[in-house]
């Protein structure tokens, strides 16, 4: 009985907060609604005996990822707000149709099939040891690829977020002075390096 009540409450919270994400005009509120949605999904994971993933969902997702989101929204300030413009009616209708078709498709698919209750599982079905054995065994390659993707994303994030220095004028002072001065490189090498720098640094950027 408790199971059904928890399921119904979590469903109501999940759908209401998902609608809050999509319909709220302020991105900050959208992100807060998404945190609520992620926590209600963690409740579903607990109902499905996925204890470890529920913990990971709350710590990694609702914690780390959403904090990063909130930082960026706060950094952008008012420019992050939704552009004030009316949505054309055909776009509204097409979006509703696409979302509704997706839901209808899955509901027709699961209604045309009868599911049994599934096997009985032990209390530690979704515990760390039961998840980690396939993760580091059968699916080791996928795990490694996911870690490489994370590394690439981290490097890409740094490159996207970094400010490029303005191109230096020939003869300008070095940005970093060495502690032990060394003889200057030949003049031709200096000019060649500066020309190369102008090639890789867009001239149009004015921000510093």
């Amino acid at each position: 009985m408790t199971y059904e009540v928890v399921f119904c409450v979590a469903t109501a919270v999940a759908i209401a907060s998902a609608l809050g994400v999509v319909l709220s005009g302020n991105p900050f509120r959208s992100a807060l609604w998404l945190i609520m949605n992620l926590v209600s999904l963690a409740t579903f994971y607990l109902l499905l005996n996925a204890d470890f993933l529920a913990a990971a969902q709350v710590i990694v997702y609702a914690g780390a990822v959403m904090i990063m989101f909130l930082f960026v929204i706060a950094y952008l300030g008012g420019s992050a707000d939704e552009p004030a413009r009316d949505t054309p009616l055909w776009q509204l209708a097409a979006s509703l149709l696409a979302g509704g078709a997706m839901v209808a498709e899955v509901i027709v698919a699961i209604a045309s099939h009868t599911f049994d209750a599934g096997p009985q599982v032990g209390a530690n079905f979704g515990g760390p040891e039961n998840v980690s054995v396939p993760l580091f065994g059968t699916y080791l390659l996928g795990f490694e690829v996911a870690s490489v993707v994370l590394l690439v994303a981290a490097v890409g994030g740094v490159i996207l977020g970094a400010r490029r220095p303005a191109p230096r004028e020939p003869g300008a002072e070095e940005p970093f002075k060495p502690r032990h001065p060394q003889p200057a490189p030949p003049r031709e090498l200096q000019t060649a390096v500066m020309e190369a720098e102008t090639l890789i640094t867009p001239q149009t950027r004015s921000d510093r």
Binding site: V22, P27, S30, N37, V60, Y61, M68, N130, A153, I159
Partner: protein, 101 residues
């Protein structure tokens, strides 16, 4: 009422549909990213529901990898949004049409 895997799959489909609607209807790239997160999490819910239904943890492993991919997607997406705002571009996906010209 017996709460079986079909109820979880239904909730997952509804969440996915709401996320899809958000991706189509919103113009701010930040909220589109949030809607994509919603869709990824709906897929995770279906994976974990069917992992429980089949009584093995492969689906949970896949859900864990989806979480890692979602985190990297957020990093790159937020980096793009910050780079856009640094170039003083308006945060409106309808104005980002340079590749279409």
């Amino acid at each position: 009422m017996e709460v079986g895997v079909e109820y979880f799959a239904g909730v997952s489909a509804i969440l996915f549909g709401i996320g899809l609607y958000g991706v189509f209807i919103r113009r701010s790239p930040l909220i589109i990213l949030l809607s994509v997160e919603l869709m990824l999490n709906a897929a995770n819910l279906a994976l974990i529901a069917f992992a429980r239904y089949h009584g093995e943890t492969s689906g949970q492993v896949l859900a864990l990898i989806v979480m890692a991919i979602a985190a990297s997607e957020v990093v790159v997406g937020l980096g793009l949004v910050v780079a856009m705002s640094r170039r003083r571009a308006e945060l409106d996906v309808d104005h980002l049409i340079t590749l279409r010209k």
